[in-house]
Amino acid sequence: MIRLQPRTETPALLRLAVPVAAALVALALAALPLALAGAPVLRAYASMAQGALGSRFALTEVVTRATPLILTGLAAAVAFRARLYNIGAEGQLYAGALAAVAVGAGAVAAPPALLVPLVLLAGALAGAALMLGPTLARVLLGADEVVTTLLLNFVVLLLVQMMIEGPMKDPMSLGWPQSEPLADAALLPKLVERTRLHAGLLVALAAALLTHLLLARTVAGFAIRAVGASSPAARFAGLPVAGTLVGVGALSGALAGLAGAGEVAGVKGFLAADLSPGYGYAGIVVAMLAGLSPLGTVAAALFVAAVFVGADSMSRAIGVSSYIANLIVAMALIAVLVAGLLTRYHVRLAPGPAAR
């Protein structure tokens, strides 16, 4: 009989090995749907690896896709640390994108050094504002924030469609529903010429570092971790539980909003309803793979982005649906959840329930 015995502490190496093992298991399990699709499995893997890592362009593409994932991953990680389950990063991302267009598409005229930060700030504020309602509903009424944030995702996406077909519609787009383009001065500069890689990456990396310092080194970060560990204990110790949750909700929403503003100002230059292929939801997987560690989200986001870029290219080469990427990412989430048990428990083989 297998017994689980709680660990008093987790070896650092194990903490690192668990997400790596989960990612490998998920990649290995992908052989099953690949075989079902009748694809040459080994060639499919090779094609995926080639598509994600095989060229300089592929690598920049992975990093470009990882940029919003770092931010939505941070959004989930910081909120989950306080056990505030913000699943609304997708909606907050689009709210940030809306705000970026509102500020950057001609409403404000300023030099790039001023306008770019302003556009990013507007995105962050919009994301934070959108998360305020669900957090307050949780704190004041006890309404589950998972459901409110999920439902708001649909509302925001409809709002986006309404705006890009109506008030924000680009008259030059020939009937295609998309917003007016951002002014040149509002665009994030490219990091590498003739690729899509943009300065939003530096913003995301800075956000990861600052979030890490906030959680690890500040009083507010301590409060966030304490509320997450046990909110009754935090309350008993005199920590402002409600205030901490509202603050962490705002931070989480702001990070997701920043992702949206970055995609508009860095990649597309305008807002369309297909801005995000589910970056908000994938951010949850990124955060879990990272073990809710802010610095870990960078590595986890690179992995998830590589899966998506690799699957896209494999899909073009071999003709297997690129939904295989979503499948791999979902399996990685389940694998890391299960493997996470190993960080909290010793697995012991014991002769019977009576054995100690």
Partner: protein
């Protein structure tokens, strides 16, 4: 046309119950899971997967009831996975549920592409036809509203009535409710908490999948991506609104269906002046409002979201 004119017509209420049907299945499944102490956030993906496999089975020639069975089995299988994660392993119900939704949704989409490589327009099937029962369908008022629906609507009503009876009147139902309130006490009675909870999650997930199958086998005649469109999350909100009681859950789902049917008619009358998206937002906003209203005086099952680990208190 005044508001009253809309509300007093029979086709309006027929439409309301039709729109409510997937929600009735979903909310029945959610109540069953949550009364046993497990929050099933796999619902959105389970409905999507049920919609896909139900439709696929019919498309491959299994017949309409074959499709219903395929959907229920899909739901039960995904429920088994969720039960393994949340009941057996005691993992976070929030994250496990979302993981099942992500997995089920992507598996459904992948499976659809696998079954139909390169299909531009989704192939259609012949869906369930409205019933024409002798005598019953000709009753005044009740006839058109209740008995000229498709068979799946009646199945949904039967399921939620059965659930109410099961929870209130059977020993197993009592044990199940107790498991959601105080699992240690149930274990002390010699009842296997894990098995009971897992059973509830499997059965509840099968019901949810039927809600998805209604969409492809009755409401429409094909499978579209994103066709579940948040109905699963709406069911979770309705469960709170209903205070975890099947009767109130049915009422909530039908009121929701009525509101949605009303919104569609309002759109026809007031359309043009207001962008269509405003109307489409209303169901989601209404669900949030219902959740907030329910949360104020909610009496959730005491052990909801608390994993039960043997020998631990």
């Amino acid at each position: 046309m005044s508001v009253l004119d809309i509300l007093l017509t029979l086709p309006f209420w027929t439409a309301a119950l039709r729109i409510a049907t997937p929600l009735i299945f979903g909310v029945a499944g959610a109540v069953l899971c949550e009364r046993a102490g497990v929050l099933n956030l796999g619902i959105e993906g389970i409905m999507t997967a049920g919609a896909m496999t139900g439709w696929l089975a019919v498309h491959l020639g299994a017949g309409l009831w074959g499709g219903v069975l395929a959907a229920a089995l899909t739901g039960a299988l995904l429920g088994l996975l969720l039960a393994g994660l949340t009941v057996t392993l005691g993992l976070s119900q929030h994250v496990s549920g979302l993981a099942v939704t992500l997995l089920a949704t992507s598996a459904a989409y992948f499976g659809y592409r696998l079954a139909l490589p390169g299909a531009e327009t989704p192939p259609r099937i012949v869906p369930f036809a409205p019933l024409a029962l002798p005598l019953l369908s000709d009753l005044p008022v009740l006839g058109p509203v209740l008995f000229r629906q498709t068979a799946l609507t009646l199945l949904a009503l039967g399921a939620i009535a059965g659930l109410a009876l099961f929870l209130a009147r059977t020993p197993l139902g009592l044990a199940l409710r107790a498991v959601g309130e105080n699992p240690a006490a149930v274990e002390a009675q010699g009842i296997d908490v894990h098995r009971l909870r897992a059973g509830a999650v499997v059965a509840g997930s099968a019901l949810m999948a039927l809600g998805g199958a209604f969409l492809t086998l009755s409401a429409f005649n094909a499978f579209f991506f994103e066709m579940v469109a948040g109905r699963g999350w709406i069911c979770i909100a309705l469960t709170v609104f209903a205070g975890w009681r099947p009767g109130k859950a049915l009422l909530g789902a039908v009121l929701f269906g009525a509101f949605d049917a009303f919104q569609v008619r309002l759109q026809q009358v007031a359309g043009g002046a207001v962008p269509g998206q405003v109307f489409l937002m209303l169901p989601y906003l209404l669900s949030i409002a219902a959740l907030l209203a329910g949360a104020r005086n909610a009496r959730a099952p005491k052990a909801l979201m608390v994993p039960f680990i043997r020998g631990e208190r």
